[in-house]
Symmetry: C2
Subunit: 131 residues, 2 copies
DNA sequence: CGGAATCCATATCGATACTG
DNA sequence: CAGTATCGATATGGATTCCG
């Protein structure tokens, strides 16, 4: 039996998992899969991310050794982001998970509908509670 | 080229990924790997989770078709939780990710130390800012 | 262009208390 | 035992503004 989630490092592993679960981190990793991208190009491709969050996400990924930040000292400034080998190695299990998610979205949707109709739709859509 | 993260379902997939990244959901799935567990037993094994969060996590996982909730109408009440086939199928890619996380924790730690010493430790430990 | 800083709304979560 | 309900602290994230 694998024991890499035993108490001692459980929190640490969980911490990494959370990064993967982070909405933007995964998208950034996906987008940078095979090419380096500039800040705003990355932002445009992801879509819906604020510049603040993209900055924060990139900083964290950079600190964790997932992405590489390269500044070209031009005018105007040009900054390129690319995956490091570590980042690329993360890409694979993430892709597997993405594949699973994509394949099972219908199952999840069906399960939700079944659950909601069994327990009352109003229970989950709790914005309908009156005064 | 796989396109399961194309714009249309990108958000949906991301949503599933977030569930995986959810601190407690993964731990619950791990704990329920091969056996059914009762509420408090599950809580004890996870450790550090409030009863509120365990309830919420289990409800969500149940709604998504990941876990099965079985109530034995005894006194006192006895409720058992177990993974559904869908939940078990999620276990595999999650395990792969957990394995990656465990293997690469040292790399991440080293990357962080390098980053911090390069950019100034005070920058990341920003609790030291004076009045 | 890329990013830092500030402000503010909301979401998340833990602690606590009460219930069938 | 297995929850539900409420409350308050904190984390998260968007919008905006300013700067090199």
């Amino acid at each position: 039996m694998p024991n890499y989630y035993e108490p001692c490092q459980c929190g640490r592993v969980s911490e990494v998992l959370q990064r993967v679960g982070d909405k933007w981190s995964v998208l950034v990793i996906m987008m940078l899969g095979d090419e380096a991208l500039r800040f705003n190009e990355l932002r445009r491709r992801i879509g819906g991310i604020s510049q603040r969050m993209l900055t924060l996400t990139l900083r964290t990924l950079e600190r964790d050794g997932m992405v590489n930040r390269t500044v070209h000292p031009t005018v105007p400034p040009q900054v390129e982001y690319a995956l490091t080998p570590l980042g690329r190695s993360l890409w694979e299990p993430v892709e597997a998970l993405g594949k699973w998610a994509h394949q099972n979205l219908p199952n999840i949707d069906r399960a939700r509908q079944a659950y909601d109709s069994a327990n009352g739709v109003a229970a989950s859509a709790h914005e309908a509670e009156e005064a």
